[in-house]
């Protein structure tokens, strides 16, 4: 126990040192992103630590959370909706209905050529119908003012509401993918989730009607208690307060905003960790660990392994979705181009493994530590590299080395992951 506290204190010290020697602004923005990463790590830990499920599509679930923020809280584009909103909804409904009908036909018809033909006919007819309804509607939506809109816009609801919605979207995707890939051999889930994540990102980049694709949506409203820096700086009371304490109002306002975000994220993190700890210590958690440690004997005891796996996969993905929504909320914009599997999937895995898989506090510690390391290297890396190559004469080699400092991060993370897996596979805070 004291060891764990010491570890958390050490990580806290890292953030304090960053604040003191670089800037508090930087320390807080690293902290906020690390808190979000810690929540994602908790979600992954639910899947991996409790159930041994290997999800390589974390990026996709994160992005779905971000999409929820746009759909829930962005400004509505009434003209876009009027032009094709109903057509798009109808098209999506037709597509989903034909898939459902095909599954129904496959399950109900007797085996044989007829079943194959009927299912295929339903799928083909459904696809043609879908394109006939969907395409004109999309064109109509995208034709409206493409420079600033061209999408159906959001619902204009409070941004905080988007967080649970992000969780729901991610849970839906997890249900679909889990239904297919769970119950087969363990690497199939990894490969299937790798694929679904790429596809989710491709959809978000290319479907302009949805969230403007790579044209990005900016200026999204902030979640409830977070003020804007500008409005703080304009408030006389705030400027008065800041000067009385000897802060520059601009710096103070951005620090206050970041602190409020940090408090919000911390609240969510604590809620998730409390719930997961409760779940882990409940009969359900013991059952999950029993399944993880020996699927065969758990199945012999009458546990439905595939169903439990599906359940825990959906839960974990929902947590990741919530964190993804928080991330987009904080950034204030959705940029599908920034979702990169190395940063949003595999880095989270490093966090979980380094922290200690199967232990929620370990996942949080790993999230904070690796999150700090990843982001601090961004600002320190070029400086250190510059120091190393200072002796070299100016030239292409020196420029190349300084440029490549950012890639050192990948290398370092890989080495860290390999070292931990080899020498301390249970992580910094092992499972009890």
């Amino acid at each position: 126990m004291t060891r764990n506290l010491a570890l958390f204190a050490a990580v806290g010290l890292l953030f304090l040192l960053t604040g003191m020697f670089q800037s508090w602004n930087l320390a807080l923005s690293i902290l906020n992103i690390s808190l979000i990463s810690a929540i994602m790590a908790l979600g992954v830990n639910i899947q991996w630590g409790y159930a041994g499920l290997f999800n390589t599509g974390i990026m996709g679930f994160t992005a779905l959370g971000g999409l929820a923020v746009v759909l829930v809280s962005a400004r509505p584009v009434a003209e876009g909706w009027a032009a094709g909103g109903s057509g798009i909804l109808l098209g999506l409904f037709l597509g989903a209905a034909s898939i459902a009908l095909a599954i129904f036909a496959w399950n109900r018809l007797p085996k044989g050529g007829l079943r194959m033909a009927a299912t295929l006919a339903i799928v083909v007819a459904g696809f043609v119908l879908f394109r006939m309804v969907f395409d004109p509607a999309v064109n109509a939506v995208e034709a409206f003012n493409p420079a600033t809109a061209g999408n159906i816009g959001g619902l204009g609801l409070p941004a905080t509401l988007a967080w649970p919605v992000g969780g729901l979207l991610a849970a839906g995707a997890a249900w679909a993918i889990g239904k297919i890939a769970l119950g087969l051999r363990s690497d199939y889930l990894a490969i299937a989730t790798l694929g679904i994540a790429e596809i989710i990102i491709a959809v978000m980049k290319n479907e302009d009607w949805l969230a403007r694709g790579v044209k990005n949506i900016i200026d999204m409203p902030r979640p409830w208690p977070v003020p804007y820096e500008v409005s703080l700086q304009q408030s006389a009371a705030f400027v008065d307060w800041a000067t009385r304490w000897g802060f520059a109002p601009t710096t103070a306002s951005s620090i206050i905003v970041k602190l409020i975000y940090a408090a919000l994220f911390l609240a969510v993190l604590l809620a998730v960790i409390w719930l997961s700890e409760r779940a882990l210590k409940s009969p359900w958690g013991r059952m999950m660990r029993a399944i993880r440690d020996n699927e065969v004997s758990a199945a012999a005891m009458g546990k439905d392994v595939t169903r439990r796996h599906l359940q825990v996969f959906i839960l974990g993905s929902a947590v990741v979705g919530i964190a993804g929504a928080m991330y987009t909320s904080m950034a204030g914009q959705l940029t599908p181009g920034e979702y990169n599997p190395l940063r949003f999937t595999f880095l989270i895995w490093v966090m979980v493994i380094v922290g200690g898989s199967g232990n929620n506090w370990g996942a949080v510690l790993g999230g904070l530590l690796i999150g700090w390391l990843w982001l601090i290297v961004e600002s320190l890396g070029p400086m250190v590299m510059g120091g190393i190559v200072a002796g070299l004469s100016e030239g292409p080699l020196k420029a190349h080395l300084i440029d490549s400092a950012q890639h050192m991060r990948l290398l370092t993370m890989g080495v860290v992951l390999l070292l931990v897996l080899r020498f301390s596979p249970r992580g910094l805070i092992p499972e009890k």
Partner: protein
């Protein structure tokens, strides 16, 4: 009605690109499937092994070019290929010694090995970015076309041209040679036979005195060679960009699973299934259909089932169908 022109358009835009891409995927999938058969895990680092091998080959190509060595009409990269393979093989053998061997001795669960391969992927990705950067590198030289579209038109008098890029021809020929060698090796040589025995039944193979370390080493060397060749051919045909190689993991895994993990012949079949489906689903069929139907019925739309941005969705959809309907793949691979 103009069947000949329709056929030429089909060959030019669907068949030949699909064939070249399929050969590249098949070589990649062969590497994945061999590792899976012998070492029993899905190697997530395979895409980055391809990138590493290609990078080494590119560096040698540049060196040769700077010395004025060329390979006539063929790309210089083919000369550099053996050097690329040698260094990549040394790298995979080193990785096995430092990383994978420990877990093999421990008899760790496959999913742990998959995770370890993630770590290796990170490291290799970092090395490649560190050395050659993240940008596009074009290293194809030598003759551009075997037949150019213009020549074909004057030769045959058809309205449509058929262009065969020399890189496409090189790809298909090299792939055929490599596959032939691989099958000869697996079927006829002693080492190849012991590899197949090891893959079929590890315990029985060990009892019959097969040296597991040797089998594993040969597997890594072959996997490195296949990955480097696949990567160089892909890079010659399109261009070399490290991140694209990482993304190739999905179609390559899909190909290996469609064929049946652990089955070499399945990997080849799977590579072509994935490649042709991808090209056919994302191709706009308007031109072909216009030639085939009477003028009054010419289509207005592009007749494209899906935009090319979703090509990964195609391999993914096939993967899902196979997982649902025949999880062991076309050629009955393992489903441990």
């Amino acid at each position: 009605m103009d069947i000949l022109n329709a056929l030429v358009v089909f060959l030019n835009f669907v068949f030949i690109p699909g064939l070249a891409y399929g050969a590249q995927l098949a070589l990649g999938a062969l590497g994945v499937t061999l590792i899976y058969g012998i070492l029993r895990f899905s190697n997530f680092a395979h895409g980055d092994t391809m990138a590493f091998g290609t990078m080494v080959t590119i560096l040698f190509t540049w060196w040769f070019q700077s010395m004025g060595i060329s390979f006539g009409v063929l790309p210089t990269a083919l000369l550099a290929l053996p050097f690329g393979i040698a260094i990549t093989a040394a790298m995979t053998l080193g990785t096995d010694r430092v990383v994978y061997r420990f877990y093999r001795k421990q008899k760790a669960a496959p999913v742990i090995l998959v995770m370890v391969s993630l770590g290796v992927m990170f490291v290799m990705n970092g090395i490649v970015r560190l050395i050659i950067g993240v940008d596009d590198q074009n290293f194809a030289d030598g003759g551009r076309f075997l037949i150019s579209a213009g020549d074909f038109k004057t030769m045959t008098g058809l309205a449509e041209g058929l262009a065969i890029k020399s890189t496409q021809a090189v790809t298909v020929v090299t792939a055929l040679v490599v596959m032939g060698l691989l099958f000869w090796f697996l079927q006829k040589t002693r080492t190849g036979k012991s590899m197949r025995a090891f893959s079929d039944n590890e315990d029985l193979a060990l009892l019959s005195g097969i040296n597991p370390d040797r089998v594993v080493q040969v597997t890594w060397i072959i996997a490195a060679a296949l990955a480097t060749i696949a990567g160089v051919l892909y890079g010659l045909d399109k261009s070399f960009k490290p991140f694209v190689y990482f993304q190739l993991l999905l179609p390559i895994f899909a190909a290996a699973i469609v064929g049946g993990l652990g089955s070499p012949i399945g990997a080849i079949a799977g590579g072509f299934v994935i490649a042709f489906s991808e090209v056919m689903v994302t191709y706009a069929w308007k031109k072909v259909v216009t030639y085939l139907v009477p003028e009054s019925m010419a289509p207005e739309g592009l007749l494209q089932l899906m935009s090319t941005d979703y090509k990964f969705a195609v391999s993914f959809a096939i993967l899902i169908l196979v997982l649902i309907f025949m999880p062991t793949g076309l050629f009955k691979g393992k489903s441990v």
